[in-house]
Amino acid sequence: MAKQRKPILDRRQAVADILSRRGDTLLVTGLGAPTWDTAAAGEHELDFANWGGMGGATMVGLGVALAQPRRRVLVITGDGDMLMGLGSLATIAVQKPRNLVVIVLDNEAFGETGMQATHTRHGVDLAGMAKAAGFRGATTIYNASQLKTWIPRFYRQPGPLFASIKVKDEKLAMVLPRLKDGPAIKNRFREALLGSKAYD
């Protein structure tokens, strides 16, 4: 394992910077803090926010990416959710979705349950696992300069791509999305994406 470095990046700023370039990208967020970060950056009808289904965010992203091969699909999730769905790195890599990007906001903690340390605090290297699974590109981002380099790649480089962004383990104020009702979130996304075909 690599020597542990202390995260310095601000998660809300990182998400705001990433999403400022989103264009018509489809976004799936993992439960907990990534969903609050996205809401803080400005909610969008093409966001699907998970409020449950821990371990599933990346696979929701794969299903969207396979259904919409011409659209870029971003998954923004946390290290706890990613660790619960590690097998999905293999499943995704095998499918080689060029339009899928997995971003982990890695604060090395379980944010919703008391900030207990996750495995990444103890040196587990998620980007290393993604690379070994077969992701086309995988990186761990520690500073603003690296993030600035990678943001354009999230939108342009053929995937699947993986980035673990090491963020400070602050407990920030929850910023709630407007919707927590599952069917409402689903319908808003599908209506925005599919238009009149949403209810065929």
Partner: protein, 207 residues
């Protein structure tokens, strides 16, 4: 999308009933090939049903009972057939498929149901349609005692998570059951599981 369709099974008249036993997997509706191995039309008939339902994504952890259907799906270039490391990945994937405008199906063995429990909450809460085809172990001539607990818990566990369960134990009724289950799932936004009896897929004899 088609709202009503003829059943794929051309004969509603029942096949002559035979007593099935664990030495004759397949039951009524299956044919025995010249080499003594049973064959059955249900995987191919089910495949046609899935295509007519408009399924485009197929997720699976394999089971020998699903081998032929899996092979057929992989061979069809219109389908995205995805091997999973664990069954709950498929539930999340098919939620994503629906978000993206595509229908899907999840294939698994009964033992894999247990891996799905929490993720089924995603489908239930958001009213994602979910069609699951589950080949059963642990109840008809089962050899392996370790298969029994999860197979006996399959129907109750799925029901506890809001999944509507159809059970089928005759090979010639599998396709029509999948058709009915699929229409229920996609029309009403619910999770529906078809449990395909071990009597149909055949009890493994570890000799």
């Amino acid at each position: 999308m088609k709202s009503t369709r003829e059943s794929v099974m051309s004969s509603r008249a029942s096949s002559p009933r035979r007593q099935g036993s664990s030495n004759e997997p397949g039951g009524p509706g299956s044919r025995v090939r010249g080499n003594g191995k049973p064959s059955s039309r249900w995987p191919q008939d089910t495949f046609r049903v899935l295509k007519e339902l408009g399924v485009r994504q197929v997720a699976y952890v394999p089971d020998s009972g699903h081998s032929e259907l899996i092979r057929t799906c992989h061979a069809d270039r219109e389908l995205k057939t995805v091997v999973l490391t664990t069954e709950e990945e498929g539930i999340a994937m098919l939620a994503g498929a629906w978000l993206g405008g595509e229908r899907g199906v999840l294939l698994m063995q009964s033992s894999g149901t247990g891996n799905c429990i929490n993720m089924l909450g995603l489908s239930a809460e958001c009213r994602f349609p979910l069609l699951m085809l589950v080949t059963m172990r642990g109840h008809w001539g089962e050899f392996n005692p370790w298969q029994v607990p999860m197979s006996q818990a399959t129907a109750p566990a799925l029901t506890a998570m809001g999944v509507l369960v159809h059970q089928v134990d005759e090979a010639d009724r599998v396709a029509e059951t999948v058709d009915a289950a699929g229409r229920l799932a996609f029309n009403t936004g619910r999770s529906v599981a078809v449990l395909i009896s071990q009597r149909i897929v055949g009890a493994k004899q570890f000799k």
